[in-house]
Symmetry: C2
Subunit: 309 residues, 2 copies
Amino acid sequence: MRTVGIIGLGLIGGSMALDLRSRGFADTVLGVESNSVNACAAEKIGLVDAVVPFDECIVRSDIIIVAIPVDSAIRTVKLILDRFQEGADPPSSASLRDRITANAPEGVSAPSWKDKIVIDVCSTKEQIAKATKYHPARKQYVATHPMAGTEYSGPWAAQPGLFDGRACIFADAEESSPKAVKTVGELYDTLNMRPIHMGSAAHDVHTAYVSHISHVTSFALALTVLEKEKDEKHIFDLASGGFSSTVRLAKSSADMWVPILTENRDNVLRVMDTYLEKMKEFRDAVDRMDEDRIRTLIAEANRIKKIIR
Amino acid sequence: MRTVGIIGLGLIGGSMALDLRSRGFADTVLGVESNSVNACAAEKIGLVDAVVPFDECIVRSDIIIVAIPVDSAIRTVKLILDRFQEGADPPSSASLRDRITANAPEGVSAPSWKDKIVIDVCSTKEQIAKATKYHPARKQYVATHPMAGTEYSGPWAAQPGLFDGRACIFADAEESSPKAVKTVGELYDTLNMRPIHMGSAAHDVHTAYVSHISHVTSFALALTVLEKEKDEKHIFDLASGGFSSTVRLAKSSADMWVPILTENRDNVLRVMDTYLEKMKEFRDAVDRMDEDRIRTLIAEANRIKKIIR
């Protein structure tokens, strides 16, 4: 009998809920969702067995997945680790003890506090690593980044199989208990993800260089096309598959991306500056009608073919 | 009995060959391919009924589709219009007359020179329009741009259904004979394309603003990631679906894109400059950690959702 609690029933949380239950990793999936419309939708769609209050989710779940934007996730993971600590070592204050233990429904045996695990799934890892590094319950936290998603958000965007065959990064796994890492490994194995281990600082460098810059270039492309091409009908008519795929990420939500870009500011700035240089170089070659230079730049860019199929 | 000749058996020419024959528009599809490896492949794959010399293709075909990069296409369309002219009004020189008429195989009745049509499928239209504007056989030429494709090239990239549901631009159709436009309309109708009419100059502005800029941003993204992320394994591991779709166009061939970017230099430069401004604005907001500004920029970019689904 394993209960998984998911804080945040959006694209990632909702998609995890679907596969973890249907593939037998969890017997029960509980959800916590602060947006009442999304909470209602998640229950109606059947993403989770029940949407419950935060405290009840912490008491009843063996594994808690925090799937909300990175700024809120930092606060929430710390709060959950506090609860783990308080539950394992109950405080003398009767009211706090009551709050911690009274939320388990009648007849449901809550898992041991010391065996509970919390996971985050954020796209930046260094700030959350710093914020939790010295927490007494740190070993019960596993920092992960499942590298999957679409440009859509909310419970309606959840889909089965979203993670199949993708990479999942485990950041600073040595800070977590081996038992917790093993269980979380099984969780991602259920989602058919390839585990990759790296430090949280390295994670933020590499994701800025590969993933975050793609979003920024796509936002800038959308802004450019919307400014230059005032007539939306022309955009619709002339959007071949090429434009659609290049601009796809520009549909991504500000709630998710503002925190990522600010949390990972230094790395993102570094790669944006290189991007601006490359774009400028390309522009100048076109300006000079320097066919040889344009050809060389395109041939260099084509090398990506060998890496990404 | 209709014969279609296709000059250039790459992604576009090859895909047209497949659908025009299988859907009954052409009884016979002839191909011309200067690259001998590609010619051999096109015959083996069965894209065309026969790969033939250029002159034979012109003599035997009712409709000739020029599907080669835009710089060569300009020369080739002019040459074909010259032949139409020479065929309709045979020159006194015996050797030239022989060259024109002698290429029809025994027993094959060649279509009338005055009824033949030539089409190009280039991504820029203004230069080719200028180059052909005063040609005596101009009415037999229909300038089109089927807005479909993939990042792959060559006969191996050809696929059935490539054009289904996409837009096809007819540029300066008033310069062609109504009969030719009607026949070419039927051709693209067979490919399930939506016809859109515009002038060649407007075409080049709008495609720069929507399509050409997407390719340039994608080339620059590939160059950036390849420079910043020296370890190809990291690129492979961290390439989520988002990066893959944004960088997809960076696999496009220099042979096709160098001529497009130089032919359409002024429009491309204009949109690149706007893009550089937008990127710089985004960069500065991240630099200042100006969350409100980043949020506003992303929300503006999100408007693309309403146009491109």
